[in-house]
């Protein structure tokens, strides 16, 4: 089915089979493998992407429902070779161990920054990461990274 969408800033017109999940479109058809599939049951958050600026779990979205939408994946955050402030904060604060959950964590962090600006407390950030699982148990540094990243975005 013909679907027009903007992907990481580029307008695309795609012919998509209706049963295609957004995450499968991204990974299998468009080779954007930074978005991960952890659970496929809308629990782990590894597949988070931004749709019209809002974080959603792309394993539970039909790609054909996104006609006219603007999608941003982890690949679309850096510009001109410079990391997005949220990505830079994850690097600075060692907010990743194995890295599998990281793209989803960064996207969740952007949604937290969208809702709270740079003012979210550590407690709020930890609570609002309830939809993201890290199996390395590295949440402390992830919270620190989102705290710093949100502030950096506000100051930018």
């Amino acid at each position: 089915m013909q679907t027009r969408l903007t992907l990481n800033g580029t307008a695309r017109e795609l012919d998509i089979a209706p049963a295609t999940l957004l995450v499968d479109l991204l990974r299998d058809d468009l080779a954007l493998t930074g978005t991960h599939v952890g659970c496929d049951t809308s629990q782990c958050g590894a597949c988070n992407v931004l749709i019209d600026g809002v974080a959603v779990k792309s394993c539970t979205v039909l790609a054909v429902q996104l006609d006219g939408a603007e999608i941003t994946t982890i690949e679309g955050l850096a510009s001109d070779g410079a990391l997005h402030p949220m990505q830079a904060a994850f690097k600075e604060h060692h907010g990743l161990q194995c890295g599998f959950c990281t793209p989803g964590m960064v996207i969740a962090g952007l949604d937290i920054a969208r809702r709270h600006g740079g003012s979210a407390s550590r407690e709020t950030i930890a609570h609002e990461l309830e939809g993201n699982l890290c199996r390395c148990t590295g949440y402390q540094n992830i919270v620190s990274a989102i705290e710093a990243g949100s502030k950096a975005m506000q100051d930018a």
Partner: protein, 261 residues
């Protein structure tokens, strides 16, 4: 998922036409109940009809003693909406307790109540807040809408358009969340109206229900800590025994009563 056809409706009439054009059809909005059911092949529709492009279906407005929320309003929108927060703050709080932030950014009111999951949150709000459920076929009172596990009074092809929650004098929703799924192990919605109390329980039994014993006790000004639901009518599963759920209902009732706003 099995292959299916997909159409985009731009009007309620158009959606009804597409539904009637043969095979098993289903409506989709946020997809956060339907798509998981399709992945596990509990549902295998031949055609999906997207209703999110129908104008006005996500509107939120207060009209007299009711707060009307459109069927495709997303949980995050309800949780953050100024009209909802001022009219029925306990309902905004309930929306904030559904799933997680990403799920709330996608899931909708209509999807939640038409699925009628035994542990879903909105059905409890509908029952406790004496909601009117408006559809393409007419209107239902919440008491007549939720018939049983995953079952509602909706006919095939009928679309929920909006839900009118009656404004209580005070209300509160106390939820004991399953730590992984965030569904209610047990949750109790208490609402006080000028003409009486309404108490709805979700997560505890095969479907949402009103706790009439608690309503009577609250109306009589009696303490509720001695109330206990009959465990033989409650769910027992790997997460909690029926006896534990009965106890949780009493505890969540007290918590809701203490938090009435």
């Amino acid at each position: 998922m099995r292959e299916f056809e997909f159409t985009r409706a731009t009007s309620l009439d158009g959606a009804a036409e597409q539904f009637a054009s043969g095979g098993e059809a289903a409506f989709i909005a946020g997809g956060h109940t339907l798509l998981p059911a399709m992945k596990s092949r509990l549902r295998m529709p031949d055609r999906l009809i997207d209703i999110t492009g129908i104008p006005g279906l996500d509107r939120i407005e207060r009209d007299g003693d009711r707060l009307w929320i459109g069927a495709t309003a997303r949980h995050a929108t309800v949780a953050d909406d100024a009209t909802v927060k001022s009219a029925i703050p306990s309902l905004a709080k309930l929306a904030l307790l559904i799933g997680d932030p990403q799920v709330r950014n996608r899931g909708t009111l209509g999807g939640s109540i038409t699925n009628n999951d035994p542990a879903a949150d909105y059905p409890a709000a509908c029952l406790a807040l004496d909601a009117t459920i408006e559809t393409t076929g007419g209107r239902y009172q919440a008491d007549d809408f939720f018939l049983g596990m995953f079952t509602t009074a909706l006919a095939d092809g009928e679309i929920v358009t909006r839900v009118g929650f009656r404004l209580p004098q005070a209300g509160a929703y106390a939820k004991f969340r399953h730590p992984a799924s965030r569904y209610a192990m047990v949750a109790v919605y208490v609402a006080r109206f000028v003409d009486g109390w309404r108490v709805a329980v979700t997560g505890a039994a095969p479907a949402v229900f009103r706790w009439t014993g608690a309503e009577a006790a609250l109306a009589a000004g009696q303490p509720t800590d001695g109330l206990l639901l009959d465990p033989s009518e409650l769910n027992s599963d790997i997460h909690a025994s029926a006896e534990y759920r009965a106890h949780l209902c009493t505890v969540m009732l007290a918590k809701a009563v203490a938090e009435l706003v």
